[in-house]
Amino acid sequence: MTDATAETPRRGSGTGSLMVPDARTAKRNAREKRFRLYGLVAVCTGILMLALLLTSILSAGLSAFRQTTIQVEVPLVAERLDPEGNRDPAQMAKVTTFGYAPLLRDALIGTIESAGIETELDPRAIADMVSDESVAQLRAFVLANPGVLGQTIPVEVLASGRIDGFFKGRVTYQTAELDKNISPEQLQLAEALQEAGLLATGFNWRFITAPDASTTRPEAAGLGVAILGSFYMMLVVLALALPIGVAASIYLEEFAPQNKFTDLIEVNISNLAAVPSIVFGILGLAIFINFAGLPQSAPIVGGLVLTLMTLPTIIIATRASLKSVPPSIRSAALGLGASRMQTVFHHVLPLAMPGILTGTIIGLAQALGETAPLLLIGMVAFVREYPGAPWEGGLFDPATALPVQVYNFTQRSDPAFVERASGAIIVLLIFLLIMNLAAIFLRRKFERRW
């Protein structure tokens, strides 16, 4: 059909043809094309930026999920670890990590010798190739199992940050020449250990479960405390912000009279949603810590502060989803004799639930990535102890949070922490992705269209 009409163009008589666009139509079409192009460019720029961000984070951070370890046979010399000889843990605890360090060093040298590797490195340089964390782990293990004294046990120890970096390509022979913390000879020894099968790189569970470690032990630093702290804070936010936010929205939307006062409240809620988060931190410090006397660095305070921050988001989302429930539903319920409260709880709220849940999850995701307010309430800290279980008062124990841990890692002097920081960002992004996917899933699954 179209071909036939195309073959019989109407020409002449100044009116132009439908098939041959006149100048103004061409201009209009070109304008539309240009506009589409602008949109496309904008989308592409966004995607490009995202791709850049993700590549830089992934390329820097994925290596944090792998860790180099060394197998060492450690003879636990009873005379050195239990000078009193009575296997009393209290007595044995007097031998500090400074007493265990030479033991591990000698064990490492022994392992190297028995593997038939020759090296001219002095003992101190060899000891520097493993993490100080391993000494502490060894001590904790011996104190927990005094029976192993006198035996020789195989121990998997963490390689030092520089050795670990060598197998991840961060440290090379060139940089080792200039680096005061590692020498090319140590790298050669590490390669020899790898050939002997004593040194291997594997998946790094410790990065997810272990607590933070000090500046000198980047290889041991993990996110355990931060993940728990973030989780506790989200619990508090969910437990407080959801009921308060939903109650406030239902009242404002369904019961409150429309007057200047409720208008004022509405404006204020919208304004609160745009208040910089650090302001909530100042408020939290003044009210929760200085006035109410809650402990510093505790997830409960962080959770309360983030609740204040998340409330406006939840209230706005809840009100929007309540508004989108058609008035006919309310009229029908009221017409059948339901009270206003029954109308709300039996009919309106269930229909608005997907929107409320989506708003809550997005609010939680926003709170999960927040750092600034936590700065003022003492959560930007070096915390190594896991907080207790929530029913044991764990909400009051010191903890950090995931974004805070990223910030902490970026401030450390050892270059290995760059990788840890990016690794922590990846973990944070995965959590955010899961939460946002859950929001989309809930919306798709329960959404009603009219």
């Binding site: 605890a93 500090t96 990590t97 400074f98 502490a136 001590r139 904790a140 940089t175 080792a176 200039l178 005061k180 470690a213 000090s214 500046t215 000198t216 407080l240 308060i244 406030a248 009242y251 404002l252 409150a256 006062f261 409720t262 409240i265 204020n268 809620i269 009210i287 929760f288 810590i289 200085n290 109410a292 006397g293 809650l294 402990p295 510093q296 660095s297 409960i300 309360l304 609740t307 204040l308 409330l311 209230i315 700065l375 003492g378 930007v380 800290a381 070096f382 915390v383 190594r384 102890e385 008062g393 909400l395 009051f396 010191p398 970026t410 401030q411 450390r412 002097s413 050892d414 270059p415």
Partner: protein, 344 residues
């Protein structure tokens, strides 16, 4: 209405929680970001070797730490403030006003301040305080006359320095390091170049001249870094001609990317700083709240452990990380042991 409701309910929840909160059983520390790495190394080792929980260490700067330290006595205030400078008399007064009267001062050692640039950058290998004053002072002496700093390149006042634009990344005024940088480098350079004398001759009082000496040019050649040394490092990374101010320990951890300059011909190291040859260094401190000893478990043990020979001695982990061990460590240990308060 919803706001009041929110506020009231959160406060109510908070109050209920506060009564349920158990007594604090871990030491809390805050303060200087320069002391933070040392404090975290000690806290970690303390947690490993003692039955007490690992202390919680926050940073935030010397001034912020001391302000929080002086907020009062009680479980929701910190026990120890780390500082990269000595406490000021104003701060002691503020402390006393809030009931913090027993303060134990502990000097943990010395930290050197070094000037470093990109490993492959121009040859910034030797500085004197005069060079840095000429490069960074607001007013300098040119041909015997005091003028607004006219220099744009290092080679303009010292032919031995590279002919590149001046770009120095110096610690911001929120850092204790800035004070040391001003007093030991800029002021020294001001006197050495004769600018100080010229200012006095121009009729300034001694105090005014000292202040004028410390003024840093504000035309963009000197950039204040309010963040940490990692920020300075990032700035140097992106600017090959940049010169940055770092702590010795930070430099020692990044020798593969940074090249350090000598000061008055002395290269910075733990040895030259300990002997006093390297001129730019400062003591590091922490302050213990006397009223919390015996109340917060592990507080005194942590302090004693911090200054013990195993930790703060010349072969301890702190010295490994770049701290210059205190030659009078024994006196410091005795001070902590006897809980000697500051006298002022």
């Amino acid at each position: 209405m919803s706001l009041t409701k929110t506020a009231v309910s959160t406060i109510a929840v908070a109050a209920v929680c506060a009564t349920a909160a158990a007594a604090r059983d871990q030491v809390q520390v805050a303060g200087s970001s320069t002391v933070l790495p040392y404090a975290s190394i000690v806290a970690e080792a303390f947690g490993e070797n003692f039955d007490f929980p690992t202390p919680v260490v926050e940073s935030g700067g010397s001034s912020a730490g001391l302000r929080r330290f002086c907020e009062g006595v009680g479980e929701n205030t910190i026990d120890i403030a780390n500082a990269s400078r000595a406490i000021r008399s104003g701060e002691i007064e503020a402390c006393a006003a809030n009931g913090v009267t027993d303060i134990i001062e502990v000097r943990i050692g010395y930290d050197g301040i070094v000037f470093a640039s990109q490993q492959d950058g121009p040859a910034f290998t030797a500085f004197t305080p005069s060079d840095l004053f000429n490069a960074l002072g607001a007013q300098v002496l040119v041909d015997g006359a005091l003028v607004e700093n006219p220099y744009t390149q290092w080679s303009e006042f010292n032919a031995d320095l590279p002919a590149v634009d001046i770009a120095a990344f110096i610690p911001g005024t929120n850092h204790g390091t800035r004070e040391v940088f001003e007093e030991q480098v800029i002021a020294a350079g001001c006197e050495a170049t004769g600018a100080f004398q010229a200012m006095m001759d121009a009729g300034m009082s001694e105090d005014d001249a000292e202040d004028a000496c410390l003024a840093v040019r504000s035309d963009g050649a000197a950039v204040d870094i309010t963040g940490d040394y990692t920020e300075t490092l990032a700035r140097i990374d992106s600017n090959p001609d940049g010169v940055g101010v770092f702590g010795l320990s930070f430099y020692e951890n990044n020798t593969d990317v940074l090249k350090v300059a000598t000061m008055n011909g002395v290269s910075p190291s733990v040895d030259t700083i300990a002997s006093g040859e390297y001129p730019v260094s400062r003591p590091l401190f922490f302050y213990i709240k006397g009223a919390h000893i015996g109340v917060i478990p592990g507080l005194k043990e942590y302090a004693s452990f911090f200054v013990s020979n195993d930790i703060a001695g010349p072969w301890g982990p702190l010295a490994d990380y770049g701290l210059v061990s205190d030659p009078e460590l024994e006196a410091v240990q005795a001070n902590v042991e006897n809980e000697v308060n500051m006298t002022e």
